[in-house]
Symmetry: C2
Subunit: 223 residues, 2 copies
Amino acid sequence: MTPRTRRRTEALSRDRIVEAAVELLDTTGEAGLTFRTLTERLATGAGAIYWHVANKGELLDAATDGVLATALTAGSTGSPGDEVRAVALGLFDAIDRHPWLATQLALQLSRGSVTPRIFEAVGRPVQALGVPEGHRFTTTSALVSYILGAAGQNAANARSPIPHPNRTEFLDAVSSAWENLDPQEYPFTRSVAAELRGHDDREQFLTGVDLILAGITAVHPPG
Amino acid sequence: MTPRTRRRTEALSRDRIVEAAVELLDTTGEAGLTFRTLTERLATGAGAIYWHVANKGELLDAATDGVLATALTAGSTGSPGDEVRAVALGLFDAIDRHPWLATQLALQLSRGSVTPRIFEAVGRPVQALGVPEGHRFTTTSALVSYILGAAGQNAANARSPIPHPNRTEFLDAVSSAWENLDPQEYPFTRSVAAELRGHDDREQFLTGVDLILAGITAVHPPG
DNA sequence: TTCCATATTGGAACGGCGTTCCAGATATGT
DNA sequence: ACATATCTGGAACGCCGTTCCAATATGGAA
């Protein structure tokens, strides 16, 4: 089964290309993935890559699909509320690990298989929560919007232009900036600058999920 | 006051450049704004533009600032809940009119003056809603996340790769696609495909805002 | 084993992008 | 009026995604 003539390097394949693309995206950011860096990393030429992948968009789609698949494999254990939290956290953490995911999800939501996958994962526990027919689509949409919006903002912070050595220092800087805003124009923002300091992103994200869950049970009381 | 020697064309200025950029973004999309189309539109050279604007990022920032300013001028009339709805709708409509805003807001949220402006507009009525100190930052963040997430998804649909002649046809196509999904893997998504048909984006967006408002009053009962 | 059609590869080349550079034109202060 | 600072237009640079194609590797038929 071993080919008589051994290849110089491991055979190129769509999977190997996508894997390298994800690695480049994770380590060097969205701007770090170019066909030139990719050809260098894979020790090949552009034409070879284009034989396996139609264009950069398809490459990004494939990268998104792969990462998303592992993010959405949540075991359906616990109450519907717990499951919503689990799915939400799965997406949040995936976007946190791969900030480029936020951009891609925003771009792909209109097409492709991304929307149904996310919708299914969030909608199932929503239905189990007792949301009546006719409200399930809207309710699930609201949750998905929040999840992607919050995770996206988090990702935006992650790929901030100015890199910050540690999180405390970063929060201090933003908090101080808020405290120095014009008191006439920004009274509220100034007043919550202290709350910003030392908050945990994940925890805050979950609090938001709970807020929406509370709204769901308030609007659609169980029983 | 009129200069002795009349200019061939109206004098170039930062404002005129930003104005042209917004127009190009609105009419030809994010990819339609290039320094070449801009020089053509303004009948000048690249160097002239770079004299007034540092780079493309600053140009996009300025365009975002301008559009956002008009979007956030909401008269504070009505109950706190109404005001939250008004601010949310203002942002939603602005992003609907200028789909490129969604991308820019996601990019700029970490820096610049964008975050405080939005935070202030949303946070003031949140405070008026009776949310106690220590919860205001998190609550406002949740609302902002939902607003930007939902509006962003809407914008993604707007700049869909395949242009759709009318909305009904577009919804029919997506709805049919959902109904044809694998029954084993996508039972929920299939079951809500009908709800997708004929829904109104703005209305659905507001329903989500109300859901969160209901959650806020449930978690922090007034009085 | 030899041969050939097909599958795959590497790299040169193309047009378009953001940006830089600079010679010249235009405005301003004395 | 002239010297200085401001502003302009366009050529050129390097990088991008993508296309094209000659060269190579592969696998079945003869």
